[in-house]
Subunit: 190 residues, 2 copies
C-alpha cells in the first residue's frame, strides 16, 4: 500500500473514532491527513470506497494487537481466552479500533452497501475463533459437546456488545473483561 | 403525558430508526410530527432533552412488546427465555425500537451527557433479567451455581450484540434467536 494511502486510512480511522462516521467529511479528512481531497477521491473513488477500505484497514490493524503471547499449541484454551480479551483493552489503538468498528456496524444498519463486506469480516472473525475453540476441544481443554461454530458466533457478538457498553459508559472495562471470561467458562466449561 | 408530547416522541423514535440519531434534525422532526419546532423546544428544551425523553419512551414501549405470554410462576425458565427472545422479532415495533436503542447506545460513545441515563436503563434491564434467573433457580429450572447478576449482564449484552448484527445484515433473525437460546442453555444449563 502506498504511504499516502496508509496516511489517509489511518486518519480516517482516527476521525471516525473521534467524531463518528457521520462526522467524517472528506474535506476535514483531507485536512487531518494533510492531503488534498482530490487525492482521497483518486485513491478511494467515493465515500463508500473510503469506508470499505477503512474497514479493511482497521481489521488488518486488529490482527496486530490481538496477537496473544500464549502458545496456541501448548495452551489452546488460554490462547483463545487471551485472543478474545485483547479486544477489551484501554489502549489508544484498541479504543480507536473498537470505536471505528462499532461505527461501521451502526452505519451498516442505514447503509446496506456496507453490509456484504461487514458480513464477510464478521464471518472470518467467527471462523478464526471457532478454529481456536476446536483446537481447545482437541486438546481436551473444552467440553467436547460444545459447537465451536455457535460458541464462536456468540462470543464474538458478546465482545461487540460488551465493548459497546464499555465505550458508552454503561460498564467498566474490568467488569466487561470479567463477564467475557465468565462467558468462555459457561460456553466451554471450566 | 400530553397527546402532543407523545406524538413528538413517537415521531422521534421513527425518525431515529429510519435515518439514525445524527439524521435527526428538529426541523424535520417537526414536519414528521406535524407540530411547530417551538412546541418541540417547549416540551423538551433542547436536543439533549429530546433524546433523553425518547430513550424513556422507547423503553416504556419495549415493556409492552416484551411482555411474555408464559406464566412467570408456573414456568419461570420459559418466561425468562421468552422475555429475552421477544427482543429479537421481525415486527415494525421491535425493529424500530431496537434500531433506536442501538442508535442511542452508539451516540453515547460520542456524547457523554447521554451516558448516565443509558447506564441506569441498562442496569434496570439487567436487574429485571437477573430476577427472572433467580426465580428460575428457586424453581429448580436453572443451575444453582450460576450468578443471576452476571448471567443477566451477559445475556442482555448478547441480545444487543446479536440484534445489531441482525439489523446490520451480518446474520439472519432465525440464527440470532437460535444463538440466544443456546446462550441461555450455556449459562443456566439445560
Amino acid at each position: 500500500m502506498s504511504a499516502r494511502r496508509t496516511v489517509i486510512l489511518r486518519a480516517a480511522a482516527r476521525v471516525i473514532a473521534q467524531r463518528g462516521i457521520r462526522g467524517l467529511r472528506v474535506e476535514e479528512l483531507a485536512q487531518e491527513a494533510d492531503v488534498s481531497t482530490s487525492l482521497i477521491y483518486y485513491h478511494f473513488r467515493d465515500r463508500a470506497g473510503l469506508l470499505a477500505h477503512t474497514l479493511d484497514f482497521i481489521n488488518a490493524r486488529a490482527e496486530h494487537y490481538t496477537h496473544p503471547s500464549s502458545d496456541p499449541d501448548a495452551d489452546p484454551r488460554g490462547h483463545l481466552e487471551e485472543t478474545l480479551l485483547l479486544e477489551l483493552q484501554d489502549t489508544p489503538a484498541v479504543v480507536e479500533n473498537s470505536t471505528a468498528w462499532g461505527e461501521l456496524r451502526s452505519t451498516a444498519v442505514f447503509q446496506p452497501e456496507l453490509r456484504p463486506q461487514l458480513r464477510a469480516t464478521t464471518d472470518s472473525w467467527n471462523d478464526y475463533i471457532g478454529d481456536l475453540i476446536h483446537n481447545a476441544q482437541q486438546a481436551g481443554h473444552a467440553a467436547p459437546d460444545a459447537s465451536p461454530e455457535e460458541a464462536a458466533a456468540r462470543l464474538t457478538a458478546l465482545v461487540e456488545g460488551l465493548s459497546k457498553r464499555w465505550l458508552s459508559g454503561s460498564l467498566t472495562l474490568e467488569r466487561a473483561r470479567h463477564l467475557l471470561r465468565g462467558a468462555i467458562t459457561a460456553e466451554l466449561a471450566p
